[in-house]
């Protein structure tokens, strides 16, 4: 489960002074559900997810991820999440198998368990053909599969996806969307940021609209449409961020 309470992150910017990239954001995401964080570029989606992944420390507020406090137990939080974004690249000089094994070891898996996990994931994602190929020699789709395998190797109960389909072609994006559905089906807690409304409409059980760091609205897609009187999620989003 993920629970954010008044989560805030402020930065000092040379030109703009103090800015609140994430401003008192509160939401809750249950296991077996997908929570979508919608916002335009620079709205605060990535910062919010980085706070949940403990890559950044909150200025105020708190968040509980998989039962651990992000400030008090950041190592435990990272040990129970899988984080995937377009910014989480692969080590080009490692093979697909070495890459997945490396992160398995970093997550504390023993060699026997790691071997079993790697075999199972590689079979599930159809990665046998390129398991010994270096990551810099892989196609975009293959790289996406390696990234997915990397996030799954320790079987985390919480998955965080930051614009995971950004810049991908249709086939690679479908792999990711299928993977998110699979995570939900397996009972994982999933949080997913995007600015592609059609994706959010297809995948999310509930969504939150973030703008200028503030969570402007949240609920199911149907609830948001009803609240704004819009016919689609996209219209609802526009009415919330640019009334």
């Amino acid at each position: 489960m993920i629970e954010a309470q008044e989560l805030t992150k402020a930065f000092q910017d040379k030109k703009r002074g103090k800015i609140r990239a994430v401003d008192a954001v509160s939401f809750r995401c249950e296991p077996g559900k997908v929570f979508g964080l919608l916002g335009i570029n620079g709205a605060g989606k990535t910062t919010c997810l980085r706070l949940l992944a403990t890559i950044l420390k909150p200025t105020s507020g708190r968040a509980i991820v998989a039962g651990f406090d992000v400030e008090a137990n950041p190592g435990d939080v990272r040990g129970h999440i899988g984080f995937l974004s377009t910014a989480t690249a692969l080590y080009g000089r490692l093979t697909a198998q070495e890459m997945v094994e490396y992160f398995g070891r970093l997550h504390g898996l023993g060699e026997a368990e790691l071997g079993q996990r790697v075999e199972a994931i590689f079979a599930m994602l159809g990665m046998e053909e390129f398991r010994r190929r270096r990551c810099d020699k892989l196609s975009t789709g293959m790289k996406q599969k390696v990234s997915i395998a990397r996030t799954l190797v320790h079987d985390p109960p919480v998955m965080i996806f930051d614009e995971p389909t950004h810049g991908l072609d249709v086939l690679a994006a479908r792999t990711i969307v299928g993977f998110i559905r699979e995570c939900r089906a397996r009972g994982k807690t999933v949080i997913f940021s995007t600015h592609v409304m059609s994706e959010a409409e297809k995948l999310c059980d509930s969504v939150g609209i973030i703008h200028n760091g503030r969570l402007m609205a949240q609920g199911t897609v149907a609830q948001l449409r009803a609240q704004t009187g819009a016919e689609s999620l996209e219209d609802a989003f526009v009415r919330v961020v640019a009334p």
Partner: protein, 398 residues
């Protein structure tokens, strides 16, 4: 401290680096092939050039001397020079390297010698030009021999003993052991070379594992793992230290081999160099270099972490390399000796103690101060790297 995590990071970073062509070039190719090729190649080329210049019979112009047939005849009879026709344009001819030197014999030189008059023979040379110098040297040697012969004849004519010209002899006897002589000669160059290679060995890997990771987008991937940031930095620093130490060791070995080869080449040419390489001394130098290698590795890692890209990191590291060369040169400077003040100055202290160690001198107090102080500097550099890695403003600097 979780040693397992550090070992996992270290092994991955090492594997990653060893698959990087640029790391292999800076770690293996440069110290093993390029440096010895430069040292041996330059030395051999210089020796060949000097030998060839010595073998050339220089063209020398004799100005005057028509009224001194005896001296002129002897000069022309020399097989080591070729006397060319007289010309008023001799300075230009020397400048244009058409002749190597010219000698002006004063008017009535032979007669003046007979009468015991004081005379001046002038030799014209192009200063700094090796072949012109050899030509002038041959002519000067000829007149030196003529002067000594004349003096001996005059002394003999007065029935004075020849010993009158040389009332006593001055001799120098070397009391320094051969190791000390070698240490003073080669011990000055080796620390400089090693400090340089130690730093260069750390440079590229450190930038690649930090700024390079940021650039390639793998830093965020790594930060998602449960490993603490302290362990991440320590693993990276250890990997960089390994390449730095390996580069230093390879450089040390190849320098030793080059040195032995050079000595054998000189010996085959009839030149016995009074130089020896002390294996124990070299091992001691390598041990003293280790904390310095940690200091360099951690400093480079800190710079790489601070930088937004590899390009930015290299722009910070290059000036640092120049700054480091200056204190490393300390061992090459004449008269600079180790004292308690210099023993605390980083790089200078290692440079000077290495020179001492290679010449067989063992000042235990200095060794302790230098090793201890360099360990402190290394610990400070590691602490700074860890502190930087924990700062969000540094990791996500845009």
């Amino acid at each position: 401290m979780n040693l397992r995590d550090i070992r996992i990071i270290y092994r991955k970073e090492l594997r990653d680096m060893l698959r990087d062509r640029r790391t292999i070039i800076s770690m293996v190719v440069v110290p093993v092939l390029v440096m010895p090729a430069l040292m041996l190649g330059m030395g051999t080329a210089a020796a060949k050039l000097v030998t060839r210049a010595r073998q050339e019979i220089p063209k020398v112009m004799v100005l005057g001397g028509e009224d001194s047939p005896k001296t002129l005849g002897e000069l022309k009879g020399l097989k080591t020079i070729e006397v060319v026709a007289n010309s008023a344009d001799y300075t230009n001819l020397i400048s244009e390297k058409k002749i190597r030197a010219a000698v002006k014999i004063p008017q009535g030189f032979d007669a003046g010698l007979e009468k015991g008059e004081y005379q001046i023979v002038e030799i014209y040379v192009y200063a700094g030009e090796m072949k012109s110098g050899f030509g002038a040297e041959t002519v000067e040697n000829f007149f030196q021999r003529l002067r000594e012969r004349t003096v001996r004849e005059r002394v003999a004519a007065q029935h004075f003993p020849e010993r009158l010209l040389k009332p006593f002899e001055v001799r120098q006897t070397n009391v320094a052991p051969p190791k000390k002589v070698s240490g003073n000669l080669i011990g000055a160059i080796i620390p400089y070379l090693l400090i340089l290679t130690c730093m260069m060995g750390a440079m590229h890997p450190a930038v690649d594992l930090t700024a390079g990771e940021k650039e390639r987008g793998t830093m965020e991937t790594l930060l998602c793992s449960p490993v603490s940031r302290t362990h991440l930095v320590l693993g990276k620093c250890l990997a960089v230290l390994t390449t730095s130490a390996a580069t230093t060791l390879l450089s040390l070995s190849s320098t030793g081999i080059c040195f032995e080869l050079g000595k054998r080449m000189a010996a085959s040419g009839g030149l016995a160099l009074p130089l020896t390489m002390d294996a124990m001394g070299l091992a001691a130098v390598f041990l003293m270099m280790l904390p310095l290698a940690i200091f360099f590795s951690a400093t480079m890692v800190a710079i790489g972490l601070f930088s937004r890209s590899s390009k930015e990191a290299h722009s910070y590291v290059q000036p640092l390399l120049v700054i480091t060369i200056m204190p490393a040169v300390a061992s090459l400077l004449p008269g600079v000796e180790l004292n308690s003040g210099l023993a605390l100055v980083p790089v200078v202290n290692i440079s000077l103690i290495s020179k001492e160690l290679l010449s067989g001198t063992c000042h235990w107090s200095y060794i302790a101060i230098i090793f201890g102080s360099t360990c402190v500097y290394a610990a400070l550099a590691v602490t700074a790297a860890v502190a930087l890695f924990k700062r969000e403003s540094v990791l996500f600097r845009t």
